[in-house]
């Protein structure tokens, strides 16, 4: 065992795992905070929807598409000056958050838009017929009805953010990815690489299980 995992410093691994957890947690929180309203707007301004607005939809959709089509590794680098302005540094856990949100929020926004489209139009019509305004339709009917889909979207986004967070190690982002690159790759410490990858796999598994359970819990169909 000693020889097999000779290079593994468990306190280092523990610290890196914590950093990954913080990066994913914070970036997920901000991705949801930004992505949810954007997703709702995408849905509402879309074709044949309540606030159909071709221009607004076009602009919003274009921004989302641009952010989603840039490979994350490039986004990480391109975002560096913006990140410095936003949080004062482009390094460490904090420096990783802005690019992670820039990658996660538009991704989540699309997932929100899709799950809102799954809501039966009849429910929107019925809510309108009751005399609801747009805000009441969104908060009282659309979001609760789409909740299982949105939770599934949060799960998928969280898992994507785990892999993005690992990638941010390349530009000094911290966490398990940073560990894997500095020790596993640059110093050829295969055991460190194996452990970090195994931890990431476990992390993703746990997120997926948690997400699936929540979806089941909130599904009333």
């Amino acid at each position: 065992m000693e020889a097999l995992l000779g290079n593994v410093d468990w306190s280092e691994i523990g610290w890196a795992s914590w950093e990954t957890l913080v990066m994913v947690g914070l970036s997920l929180l901000f991705s949801v905070l930004v992505g949810l309203p954007v997703g709702v707007l995408l849905f509402l301004t879309g074709k044949r929807q309540l606030l159909e607005q071709k221009v607004a939809y076009g602009i919003l959709s274009f921004i989302v598409n641009v952010l989603r089509s840039v490979p994350f590794i490039i986004l990480l680098i391109v975002m560096i000056p913006v990140t410095v302005v936003l949080v004062g540094t482009s390094l460490g856990v904090i420096g990783a958050i802005p690019p992670l949100v820039a990658g996660g929020a538009p991704f989540f926004a699309r997932l929100v838009e899709t799950s809102l489209r799954e809501v039966d139009r009849g429910i929107i019509e019925a809510t309108q017929a009751m005399g609801a305004n747009i805000r009441q339709i969104v908060l009282g009917a659309l979001l609760p009805e789409a909740l299982p889909g949105i939770i599934a979207g949060i799960t998928v986004t969280a898992i994507t953010l785990v892999s993005y967070a690992a990638m941010s190690g390349v530009v000094g982002g911290g966490g398990l990815g940073d560990l894997a690159i500095r020790f596993g790759y640059q110093r050829f410490q295969t055991d460190v690489m194996v452990i970090t990858v195994a931890l990431l796999v476990i992390f993703v598994q746990m997120l997926q299980m948690l997400g699936d359970r929540l979806v089941l819990y909130f599904s009333r169909k």
Partner: protein, 335 residues
């Protein structure tokens, strides 16, 4: 009273205006059950949605109790919609809310009721639709008929004066349809609610409507009291609906008539005359022999009626006709 004054609706499809409803005027009296019957695509969904402005008319006015509702601003429109309940073919209940919360939903949206008021009203409505024990269930745990009852309770929550029914029984089996229609008739009678219902089943109209408009191709082709329209349909579309609801195969009927001897008459009895022992009496006094080729005795809402197709042989035919006439029976000579 609901007045549609030369309302017309067309949709823009690829830069062209496709008419869904041609200029239509009709008046629905307070407290009546008004049926709109038509095939899918006849424009009846559009027509009913003009009343609560889920669809805006391209032209024309919608007046409810004398007020032009098409001029309402957003807030006035929302307040107006609370006075108009609506139920749907697929119920459109919120799957994420319990039965009680679904019924409470319109009251919560209105924002003018206290928690206490909402709780009491929900209990009252659950009792009205016989679902008192089901308040904590989710819609997915209910049968179709129960779901529609929840829909009705929800539509009544804010004490509307008008109830719009969009194919409310079309997704239900015949027995459930009956019980839902009975509930609607009770509500109409007890609460004095004006009900506008659209359907493609003439049978629904026959059971609960006072008046009916028949639609075809975006136009109202026939309109009047259900007894008149049902017993003496004028327009081809109306006839199709009536025959369909009575399960009459017209080809078969034509063949049957071809084999029958003598004159062929169709007698229509309405109201009290339905129960009179008229046929035997007329046969004896005029010496006419008859055989019944087809017939039906039933109710249109609360009015009993009978419709018999007879072949008559021998005797004094003119006298028989005169006696039918005197007894207030409508006679049509088919051959």
């Amino acid at each position: 009273m609901i007045e549609l004054d030369q309302v017309q609706k067309s949709y823009q499809v690829g830069g062209r205006a496709i008419p869904a409803l041609h200029s239509t005027s009709l008046t629905i009296e307070t407290g009546e059950v008004f049926g709109i019957v038509g095939h899918s695509g006849a424009g009846k969904s559009t027509l009913v949605r003009l009343i609560n402005l889920l669809e805006r008319p391209t032209n024309g006015r919608v007046l409810v109790d004398g007020e032009n509702v098409t001029h309402y601003d957003a807030a006035e429109l929302r307040a107006f919609r609370r006075r108009v309940g609506m139920i749907f073919q697929h119920f459109n209940l919120l799957s994420s809310r319990t039965v009680a919360d679904n019924i409470a939903f319109p009251m919560k949206l209105a924002g003018i009721y206290s928690k206490q008021q909402i709780r009491e009203r929900v209990a009252e409505l659950l009792a009205l639709v016989s679902l008192t024990d089901q308040g904590n269930k989710y819609p997915s745990q209910l049968s179709g008929g129960q779901k529609q009852r929840v829909g009705i309770a929800r539509a009544l929550a804010c004490r509307p004066t008008i109830l719009l029914c969009d194919e409310a029984t079309s997704a239900l089996d015949p027995q459930t349809t009956q019980s839902v229609l009975r509930l609607l008739a009770d509500i109409n009678r007890e609460l004095g609610l004006t009900i506008v219902l659209i359907t493609h089943e003439m049978d629904v109209v026959r059971r609960i409507c006072d008046r009916v408009a028949v639609m075809d191709g975006g136009r109202v082709v026939e309109m009047g009291p259900v007894t008149d329209v049902f017993l003496h349909p004028e327009h081809a579309t109306t006839r199709d609906f009536v025959f369909e609801s009575e399960n009459i195969d017209r080809e078969e009927m034509r063949e049957d008539l071809a084999h029958a001897p003598g004159r062929i008459l169709r007698l229509t009895f309405r109201g009290e005359s339905t129960y009179q022992p008229l046929l035997g009496h007329v046969a004896r006094s005029s010496g006419v022999d008859f055989s019944i080729l087809s017939g039906r005795i039933d109710h249109i809402k609360d009015t009993p009626y009978g419709q018999l197709t007879l072949s008559l042989v021998g005797g004094d035919l003119d006298r028989a006709m005169a006696e039918f006439d005197a007894a207030d029976v409508h006679v049509e000579v088919l051959r």
